[in-house]
C-alpha cells in the first residue's frame, strides 16, 4: 500500500468516526432518549460478553456499541497494572479497565479522532475517574515510552489501520518484558468481494480493512510476540455489526442484496487474541 493511500485511509476513518460521535451526542441529550442508540449499544455489548455489572459501572455515554467486544482482556487485568487502549473511542474499555486496575493502576487511551478523545475526557471528568488519561495519537506512532505498560488492549480497531504490522510492532515496543497484548478484532476467513473491498463505508464499518486471520496472527508473531493464542472466535459478527444504526446505513448505501450479505457474513469473524512480550533475560538464561 502506498504512503498516500495509507494517509487517505486514516483521514477517511478519522472523519467517519468523528461523524459517529456527533450523531451520537446530538440525539443523546438527557431529555431525549427515544432516538438514541444507547440501548442498542448496551444490548450489543451484552451479546459480546460484557456483564450487566460492568456496563452499569462505566459512564453511560462511553459505550458507543462500536466494538466487537474484549471482556476477556478486561477480566485479565490486575490491581495496579498500567494499561494502554489502542483506539479508545469514547472510553468504554478504558473505564472498565480503570475499575479493574484500581487507584494504583493507570489506564491510557489513545485515539486519533479529536471528537472521540473530547468525549472520552468529558466522560472521565463527569464520573471522576482519576486513573484514566486520554491522548490524541496514532496507534501506528504511539506517543508512549518503551517498556512502560503491562497490558495493551484494543477492541475492534486495528482492522482500521492501513499498517497493522506497524501497530503490532508499536504495541510490542511499549510493553514491558512479560507484558501482554490482549486484543479483539475482525478478521477474514476468505477474501471479500471487490465491491465491499473498495467501499469507504465498509472500511469504516470494520469490514474492508480486515485481513485474513493467518495474516493477522503472523503479523503479531513477526512483531516479536510469543505464546500467541486465539482465545475466542465468533462467526457471523455481521449480525451485530449490521444491527448497528451506522452499519445498516452502510448496507443501504452500498445497495447490497441480502444473499450477497450472507456470503460476506460467512467470510468475516471476530477473534480475541493474546500474546506475550518475551523477557529476553529469561530466554538467555534458559539457552
Amino acid at each position: 500500500m502506498t504512503k498516500v493511500r495509507k494517509e487517505e485511509i486514516k483521514k477517511v476513518v478519522r472523519d467517519g468516526y468523528a461523524k459517529i460521535v456527533k450523531q451520537n451526542s446530538s440525539c443523546c441529550t438527557p431529555a431525549n432518549s427515544c432516538c438514541c442508540n444507547a440501548d442498542l449499544a448496551q444490548d450489543m455489548s451484552k451479546k459480546v460478553g460484557y456483564t450487566d455489572e460492568e456496563l452499569k459501572a462505566v459512564p453511560e455515554n462511553s459505550n458507543l456499541g462500536l466494538g466487537c467486544g474484549n471482556p476477556v482482556a478486561i477480566a485479565s487485568l490486575k490491581e495496579g497494572e498500567t494499561v494502554l487502549d489502542l483506539g479508545s473511542g469514547a472510553g468504554f474499555d478504558c473505564f472498565l479497565a480503570a475499575n479493574k486496575v484500581g487507584k494504583n493502576g493507570r489506564v491510557i487511551g489513545v485515539d486519533m479522532t479529536p471528537e472521540m478523545v473530547d468525549k472520552a475526557r468529558s466522560n472521565a471528568r463527569n464520573d471522576n475517574y482519576e486513573n484514566v488519561e486520554f491522548r490524541l495519537g496514532e496507534i501506528e506512532n504511539l506517543p508512549v515510552a518503551d517498556n512502560s505498560v503491562d497490558v495493551v488492549i484494543s477492541n475492534c480497531v486495528i482492522n482500521l489501520s492501513p499498517d497493522k504490522e506497524r501497530v503490532f510492532r508499536e504495541a510490542f515496543r511499549v510493553l514491558k518484558p512479560d507484558g501482554r497484548l490482549m486484543i479483539s478484532d475482525m478478521v477474514l476467513l476468505k477474501e471479500l468481494p471487490d465491491f465491499i473491498k473498495n467501499s469507504v463505508e465498509a472500511y469504516i464499518g470494520c469490514l474492508s480493512g480486515a485481513v485474513m486471520r493467518n495474516e493477522y496472527v503472523e503479523g503479531i508473531k513477526r512483531a516479536g510476540f510469543q505464546d500467541i493464542r486465539i482465545i475466542d472466535e465468533k462467526s457471523s459478527p455481521l449480525d451485530y455489526i449490521f444491527n448497528d444504526a451506522n452499519a445498516s446505513a452502510i448496507i443501504e448505501n452500498l445497495e447490497i442484496p441480502s444473499e450477497k450479505m450472507k456470503e460476506v457474513s460467512s467470510s468475516v469473524i471476530s477473534i480475541k487474541v493474546s500474546g506475550i512480550k518475551p523477557n529476553k533475560k529469561c530466554d538467555i538464561e534458559l539457552t
Partner: protein, 59 residues
C-alpha cells in the same frame, strides 16, 4: 493530562522523552506544550488533552 504520566509519554516520532511546559494547571495540566528536543517539535496540550498526533497528520 496528569504531570505524573510524563514518565510513560514519548515523542510519537523518535520516542525520546518530552519536555513539559505547563501554561495552565500544575499536577493536572490543562494548557501547555510538550517539546521534543531531538525532532525540534512542539506538541500542544489543549483542554487537558495532549495532541500527540504526528505533525503531518494534525488538523
Amino acid at each position: 493530562m496528569k504531570r505524573d504520566l510524563m514518565d510513560i509519554l514519548a515523542c510519537p516520532m523518535c520516542k525520546c522523552d518530552l519536555e513539559l511546559e505547563a501554561v495552565e494547571g500544575d499536577e493536572e495540566i490543562i494548557t501547555g506544550t510538550l517539546y521534543c528536543a531531538k525532532c525540534d517539535e512542539f506538541y500542544p496540550i489543549e483542554e487537558g488533552i495532549p495532541n500527540l498526533l504526528p505533525p503531518d497528520f494534525r488538523r
